[in-house]
Symmetry: D2
Subunit: 355 residues, 4 copies
């Protein structure tokens, strides 16, 4: 009998791609440990486990990473309002570094020399996984089947009655969800996120069908559904705009843009992404309060918000109550702003006279 | 009889605010020319005209600015994907410099020494108007009544059948709209925009109720409806992502962010806004093609897109057809990207060993 | 005798402007406390004190703020590589919030109702001071006499022999300076900064004569000398580039740009400036090591650098020793980068064929 | 005799590296055309030509690209104030796409199937060249010998008398240089640039010894001398700040940052670099006028500037002549700016009271 070339921890999904890889690795003389990470996808883990054994896996590990996925990866994404190319909420991109980390942990624990993943060389996923690997050092993935919505109802088949929710935030992160109608309440991270996925899914929230720009320079079609993430995206943006200083928010938004790109490109474990996450987290210290919203026919409608740290001062804005604000000051403010514009136009007209 | 202090062109809406100002200006000894600009708002211009005469206006001008408003102000906004604080489509902000320009033209033509507007000293509008004034040099406004949706149906009362549209773009600007079902076609700018407003309004598209940050540093609640603008925003973003190089688009998006802020703050006629508009327009030269979408229950769903200048190469992305792309290259690409990450982690672990 | 209208803490310099204001305030019925802050400027404090008393000041406070100025204001400026419009090192801008803070402290301590400053309404200083006031809440200033270099020798009269220094950094802040020739050593913040000012001044380092853009929209000529700051600027930039990851540095530089503008415009005490200072400080955690440089005829020449946390790996860069780096990977890296460029040119040539 | 595998256009420098490659290519069965581009480097082209023939090159082309290099590559760099990581003026980076373009032209003309360059797989140059290749489609290079200054005198051996120059700009590009002392005048692009190189070199201007971040993720030491470029950098920055609106300049500077990075990374022929060059060029339309400066002991000192399109209005800035500017407006301006800061501090103190 030939000697083993070493042990590989393979990120295994039970699907065709990773099953082929498992067999191929065996044929090449490697021992294979199959690793199944549960980050909330719809999957028959038991069947996959059996299949892995049948194909010759030495060991099979199924790990429930859902709690750490929500708390350590999704929450920073919510704080950032992470969105790629204005539309994609980056759910899959967030899952990658989480799974890769788990896979590496198993490899260390089992003394495996290699990790392997099922991504082809064309998608972004190979890059996301391998980069996390080099950084960690390691990684894996299986690409979601495109075009088949699994979590969300078709909006035109969605219920004719909205659900109304109240979401409470602390440090820019949701800490409690209450359904106003039936008084359902969730206050742990995982439970809360699963509940939002359920409600969002029921009302057909969060489907997109886009053309996206891959890291490696190609455009490709992406079809995603992110029901819970979409609700949180809108709610967080609302409470953030309500509580955060506008200039701080401008800077924070430019950091979020960078974060989204780093995440999409697979650089979660890079020094720049660590730096940006630190800064974004700092920006969230006053992002707290409650947002009321309704979910209906594919939409999220913000109904209201309240916060102990709101910078929204109704008296100040009101046209009748003067507060500290003197409308006459606006005159000076405008004139000073106009100094530069008038100099510019003075010059322009001098030029026009000559021409 | 006392001598006139001069002539004022007052931006007049027929409402209470501007009517009071008209009377007050007369009492102060000014002659008043009432100026009513039609930029598409719902208003009884005839009634307003009568009222202005009754209150003592020397002359009343009603001007239909809708065509120039759409072509010269809304279209650049569409090209830019202009959006303020991630949510507000800036419709009112776009109208201001258009109206101000008209008001100034009348003032010059009639030999008036002053222009006046009806904004209070608290909103953004005073600033937007006065800054355009200084630049042009002049301006005006009347604030839309808050909280009363006028153009859009409530989404839960919207039709149960979607409308499906095809919008054609050239240079990042819509040139033709076709309703797939009833074959309605529009190909002039104004007609096309009014049609999109009608369809969007019918399906409850484009309502927002937000907290926004005013230029002068206060947070305030804003309630807006932008049915046609919202449809165009989604369609344009889709065709742009489809046709524009990803790195060009990143730079263009950072310019759009600046454009949106300039616009919101009232700096349309500033040198920086002229510069940014020029650059954004340049970026649109290949943004052409057709987008199919459906409008339903407050939502805009993209169904598909096609373009002669698409950078989307289905063969290249496909996992089976190899084309010019060699998956093996991805290995080198990843390893080179990882050089920096590995050096970083090498250093980190050296530190951890010491500690 | 008329009753006092209250007490004013006047930022007093002993010069003509602030002396006039002192007298004018007395005439208006205010009691005046003169406040002289020593932030290192060349000034005869004793003479100024006598003059203030002679003009009727109720009390005179002279306060040595040099240590806190260096540690709490200049050091963050060094960490940021703060520079306005590519050339101005912002020394005066850094002094303003420091002085304003001192003035406010005295006002509180003495129960004064007002603070006053000697800036005209045209420079940036009024704005810097009043904004710090509103934030703190309060402020003051006296403008430095323009065009007269006080700290630096004319470079063409500077010594013909350079001084060679070694500057040690921790957390992006200088902690020790050693003169290689005469073995002079400084390791407290104030002493170290004064020494660098002396050496820089001796060699004519840090003079600029520029056109700058004031916050209020005017261009004005500014003549500045910043000898110590200029040496630190070059040394810090060198050690930072040596030790900081390149992508972290890119993000940090964009934050520094914002910081410099906030500082110049007088927004040190704003929420956005606090946020940016926090982020920049975080970025500096590995910015440590020693920089050798020579100072000669107006120039600072970097001679070398060393650091325990350097990311510069000589073996990796060397063309002979291969280390972990495989030159062949560069081929794949380049090809992947070129995928996008080739698609672009494929499209361009298709267009050219048609045209 | 074996059949030729085809013809290669080799970027040849006469040095060891490219000579080895020439021989190796011949041994592999290729026919070699040696291409020597003159972009102003110090090189014995005749000797190199002889050597190429001796080593078996089928043909040798020597091409003087200096004029197009200055006009089409250096001038856009001057307009941009292109600088990489705050210090490096990118001279070599500018030469690469110029040489690559020439090499590709020869390849097309001679019917060669391949181009080849002498760069190792580690520096940035391989990437710069190959990327330009893929885009054009093709490229080449020879790395300058490090650490040996060839163009510039050591500053401490530089003359004790400065040279004083006047440089005239149009569209952000130098059109005339006059030496104030000896009345030397240059007004063609190449002649002018060579003259500035001579004057700068004579006074030891433009030497740097830095750590830079390579595109591929390594830090490396770079030693550069850019005498003429350094003079132009300072002069252009001065006339630009003098004539360009401050907000336009802020945006332009952010574009320049991107341009510098694209250039350094070898993306001159990319769509994003074409876009950015277009925008920067647009920003330069009013950048015209004359800058006086002296060059002395490694330094460039700006002495003065004048321009027909200056936005610097001496009367407006002066404290005595009021012009259109009313100092009282500054009060309103400051108060409005402070609205946001006061709300922030109101909230902070509310929090402090509770804590």
């Amino acid at each position: 009998m030939s000697q083993s070339k070493g042990t590989v921890v393979l990120a295994y999904s039970g699907g065709l791609d990773t099953s082929c890889i498992l067999v191929w690795l065996k044929e090449q003389g490697y021992e294979v440990i199959a690793y199944l990470a549960n980050v909330g996808q719809e999957e028959d883990f038991e069947a996959a486990q059996k299949k892995a054994h049948a194909l010759g896996a030495k060991k099979v590990f199924i790990e429930d990473l859902r709690k750490e996925f929500v708390e350590e990866f999704i929450w920073p994404g919510v704080q950032a309002n992470a969105i790629y190319e204005d539309r994609y909420l980056l759910g899959t991109s967030l899952a990658r570094p989480c799974i890769a980390r788990g896979q590496v942990k198993i490899a260390k624990q089992e003394g495996a020399q290699f990790v392997s993943h099922g991504a082809t060389g064309k998608g972004n996923d190979q890059i996301r996984f391998e980069l996390t690997c080099y950084a960690l050092p390691w990684s894996m993935d299986n690409q979601a089947p495109a075009g088949m919505y699994q979590m969300t109802t078709d909006p035109d088949k969605a219920p004719n009655t909205p659900d109304t929710l109240e979401i409470e935030f602390k440090n820019g992160v949701p800490v409690k969800v209450t359904n106003i109608h039936d008084k359902t309440t969730c206050d742990s991270a995982l439970e809360l996120f699963l509940y939002l996925n359920k409600i969002g899914g029921k009302h057909g929230v969060g489907r997109i069908d886009i053309i996206e720009n891959r890291f490696i320079g190609m455009k490709s079609r992406g079809i995603y559904e992110t029901p819970g993430g979409t609700i949180l995206f809108h709610a967080h943006m609302d409470i953030e705009t309500f509580t955060m200083d506008k200039e701080v928010r401008k800077i924070k938004q430019s950091l979020s843009l960078k974060f989204s790109e780093q995440l999409y490109n697979g650089f979660w474990d890079s020094p720049e992404c660590e730096f940006v996450r630190h800064c974004i987290n700092k920006s969230q210290e006053y992002v707290q309060g409650k947002v009321q919203l309704s979910v209906y026919k594919g939409n999220v409608y913000i109904l209201g918000r309240e916060s102990p740290s709101s910078l929204y001062n109704r008296d100040l804005v009101s046209m009748n109550v003067q507060g500290d604000y003197d409308p006459c000051d606006a005159g000076g403010f405008i004139k000073i702003n106009a100094v530069r514009l008038r100099e510019h136009h003075r010059l322009q007209s001098k030029k026009d006279c000559k021409a």
